[in-house]
């Protein structure tokens, strides 16, 4: 069988970056939530905030580690698998990646030690500061990487010479390219929404089991407030982002809408099978004028269709079309959940409605699926270009053999599957153990003999991971 190295390289990049994005999605939201809890603990002194902070730090620690190791892969994969791309854009994107490492990764790495191991060794205020630095690092990282990604979607401020090498004319335009603010806001808000529903789901699980009730009530309440504010915000941001796409990436938008002919007052296609061969939608269910309303805010706005560009310039429409519907569908479900939570809160039944606890548990993983679907929409919708309208993906590949890429792809599958299983196993144990302090007398005692006051301790961890050597009531015997 003949293997196509470009397809394999795309599969490998899609798989490794798709796996990677799960962790930043989780840690961007969670880092800010932990900073909030650390601040509340500092200002109010209520131990419930401390317990919640320690509990979520335990999950944050392993998710952060997963993000670090899977992100390292990407910084080398871009050169190894996409040498043509690297050659073209090094002058433009190289500094953005380097600034990400310089400002964000070092900031996170420099303060994560204090966040995880420093409680009790630094003041509450200093711990809050360190939490803010790590949260700020995650947001800075998102800013740089989304500036780079957005430049690939809507390139500006740089021109390619005869050899296809880009040279920068204006850094401001490169970074603040036209889709960057929308993409950044949409992604950061997605992380916050995802984090909110994870916190809600885990808190609901404890309420449902009747364990750790005090902390779980506080966690559930905070998460549902955040969800109520953030989910509508996210839908609004998504709408703005979509209208930005309409202007700057019309072909992608046409694929999202499943719109083949350039139309005045286009309908919204709820569901259909977009046929690439026949260049039309099969089995379509349309709602007249609706797309025109939300895209152009008028009854008869004109929207460009897929047929406006030649076949070889179109993305694979069904993938973009369905990925978008998965994302939006989940967004609507999450909005419904947030609104239901608000109604229950208004009726003073938020903490004891069992069916709603089940619903909240079920929504916990949905944010991740929506993020993957959203990235599939925007990245697959950019094809066949790696730099929209300028550099084709097939011209961006590296001179490596298909077998080398296939072999490493296979190893990535096996390794990442194992990582996911191990993560879920340990995360599950942490969740089941819950936010209660392991030993009320001195919760920071995690191993026999550790003396927190001595200045020489290294390598203690946040309270709670299984004190090695102590019996574990829940699982150990």
């Amino acid at each position: 069988m003949d293997l196509d190295p470009v397809i394999l390289a795309r599969a490998q990049f899609a798989f490794t970056i798709g796996f990677h994005i799960l962790w930043p999605t989780f840690t961007i939201g969670l880092a800010s939530f932990i900073a909030l809890l650390s601040g509340l603990w500092w200002r109010t002194g209520r131990t419930v905030y401390r317990d919640l902070m320690r509990f979520w730090l335990r999950l944050f620690a392993i998710a952060f580690g997963m993000g670090v190791v899977t992100g390292l892969v990407l910084s080398y994969e871009i050169g190894a698998n996409w040498a043509g791309f690297s050659r073209s854009v090094a002058n433009v994107l190289g500094p953005l990646f380097a600034y990400e490492a310089l400002t964000a990764f070092f900031l996170e790495a420099g303060f994560i030690g204090i966040v995880l191991f420093g409680e009790g060794r630094v003041s509450k205020g200093a711990h809050f500061f360190a939490c803010c630095m790590v949260a700020g690092g995650t947001l800075l990282s998102a800013t740089w990487i989304l500036a780079a990604n957005s430049w690939m979607q809507t390139p500006a401020g740089a021109v390619a010479d005869a050899d296809g090498i880009y040279h920068v004319a204006d850094w401001w335009q490169v970074i603040f390219n036209s889709s960057f603010p929308y993409r950044l806001a949409h992604m950061v808000c997605a992380s916050f929404v995802t984090g909110s529903f994870v916190v809600a789901g885990v808190s609901a699980f404890h309420l449902w089991r009747g364990q750790h009730v005090e902390a779980s009530r506080v966690g559930f309440s905070m998460a549902m407030w955040l969800a109520l504010i953030l989910t509508p915000t996210q839908i609004l941001l998504g709408d703005l982002h979509g209208r930005n796409t309409l202007v700057h990436q019309p072909t992608k938008l046409a694929a999202i809408e499943g719109l083949w002919e350039t139309t005045k007052g286009p309908p919204m296609t709820v569901i259909a099978w977009p046929s690439m061969e026949e260049e039309r939608n099969l089995y379509a269910i349309d709602i007249p004028y609706l797309a025109s309303l939300y895209l152009t805010h008028s009854w008869d706005g004109e929207v460009q269709g897929l047929k406006a560009v030649p076949r070889e310039d179109r993305p694979y429409v069904p993938l973009v079309f369905f990925a978008f519907r998965v994302m939006v569908g989940i967004g609507m479900l999450l909005l419904l959940t947030a609104l239901t939570g608000a109604v229950l809160r208004w009726r003073h039944r938020l903490y004891d409605t069992r069916w709603f606890q089940t619903v909240a548990m079920a929504t916990a993983p949905l944010g991740f699926i929506a993020v993957l679907a959203g990235w599939t929409t925007t990245e697959a919708g950019r094809q066949p270009w790696v730099i929209y309208g300028q550099l084709r993906t097939v011209d961006a590949a590296a001179p490596v053999t298909a077998h080398a890429v296939a072999t490493t792809l296979l190893i990535f599958f096996v390794l990442y599957a194992a990582l996911m299983i191990v993560f879920l196993w340990f995360a599950g144990r942490i969740v089941i153990r819950g936010p209660a302090s392991p030993s009320p007398a001195d919760p920071s005692r995690v191993r026999p003999g550790i003396d927190r006051s001595a200045p020489t301790i290294v390598g203690s961890r946040p309270a709670g991971p299984p004190a090695k050597g102590q019996p574990r009531p829940a699982l150990g015997e």
Binding site: I78, F105, P448, D451
Partner: protein
């Protein structure tokens, strides 16, 4: 001043890139070294302590690898898009190894089955060092290039020199790791580290000689660089000083100066790095692209240079602070070394 900086951009950024590589090799070197020694330690408590000693710093150490990679893309693009495909397999396997190593930190302490994570940690450390050695050996050998791109096969990277460099790095990192442990631990773990340091000095010395002789013999450009007159007069001190430092290190392993073996180990690495720079200068892709031909656009260098000049000192300051916060001997268990204590028993539960 500005004109001077602009004219000398390639040299300045070659120095910055070299600085990042050196910091990475020294910093991640000792924590990879601890991993290489990991399974050789006699008891589980030794391993607890060894891992605890590097736990707060390994993440920042490894960040220099990301910094180095992205900085190469930004400042010397050909080094990124020619060398990474050329060393595709060793780079990828190094990444797999670093993943195994990195998650072992997170999961070993959560787990009752420590042996799995001990093995993942040690195997990842050894494999990462070996892969880096293959890249290094390949660099000295040079890579085939056509039309500005890598032109060779997947196994082009393999060479005897690379294998020797790989083994040499395993030994050298083990030496750094042992030096670190002598400094940061005491009792049985420190005694173990001193024993290991003794062996690692010999192994490192042997491998350095082997790599030097082999590269001079198999790569004519390297021989020409070192043995041509007057180079040989300037360069003779490099191997002489290296030998002297190794000898001193051998003598000081059991001395009361607990920091000295670690510092001398770092000096050995710096001298080794200097030797490689001498062999490869001024190429960024050996014997194809010089640092002047391979540098990125001046406006790109100016943009990233501003950030490097302002931020790298701040980064170094707070990383130094992290080492200061976690200064002194690492402790995990009270009464450490006393096997009758809780730790030993509870392992058997």
């Amino acid at each position: 001043m500005t004109a001077f900086i602009t004219e000398n951009y390639p040299v300045l950024f070659a120095a910055v890139a070299a600085f990042c590589v050196v910091v990475y090799v020294l910093a991640d070197g000792f924590d990879i070294g601890v991993g290489i020694l990991f399974l050789l330690a006699p008891r589980e408590q030794n391993r607890d302590l060894m891992m605890a000693s590097i736990e707060p710093v390994w993440d920042a150490n490894e960040t220099w690898l990301v910094m180095g990679g992205t900085l190469l893309l930004a400042t010397f693009p050909p080094a990124y898009y020619v060398l990474l495909p050329a060393f595709y397999l060793p780079i990828m396997f190094m990444l797999f190894a670093l993943i195994a190593r990195g998650i072992a930190f997170e999961f070993r302490l959560q787990s009752q089955r420590e042996w799995i994570w001990n093995r993942a940690f040690a195997a990842g450390s050894v494999l990462a060092a070996l892969c880096q050695g293959f890249v290094l050996g390949g660099l000295v050998n040079g890579v085939p290039m056509r039309d500005g791109m890598f032109a060779g096969g997947s196994f082009e990277f393999f060479s005897l020199l690379g294998l020797f460099c790989g083994i040499g790095l395993v030994c050298g990192y083990a030496l750094l790791g042992a030096g670190w442990l002598i400094w940061k631990t005491d009792g049985a773990t420190q005694a173990f580290a001193r024993r290991m340091a003794k062996r690692a000095v010999i192994a490192t010395a042997v491998m350095m000689v082997l790599v030097s002789v082999w590269s001079a013999w198999s790569v004519p450009e390297v021989a020409a660089r070192w043995f041509a007159w007057p180079n040989i007069a300037y360069l003779t001190p490099v191997p002489v000083v290296t030998a002297a430092v190794l000898l001193r290190l051998w003598q000081r392993v059991w001395s009361g100066h607990e920091l000295e073996p670690f510092v001398l180990g770092l000096v050995v690495f710096l001298l080794g790095f200097l030797g490689i720079v001498v062999s490869l200068w001024p190429y960024i892709v050996p014997r194809h692209v010089t640092i002047w031909d391979g540098a990125a656009d001046p406006q790109t260098l100016a943009f990233i240079g501003t950030g490097v000049a302002i931020i790298i000192p701040i980064v170094l300051a707070y990383q130094a602070n992290a080492y200061w916060v976690f200064r002194g001997k690492t402790k995990v268990l009270d009464g450490y070394g006393d096997a009758s204590q809780t730790g030993e028993e509870s392992k058997r539960m």
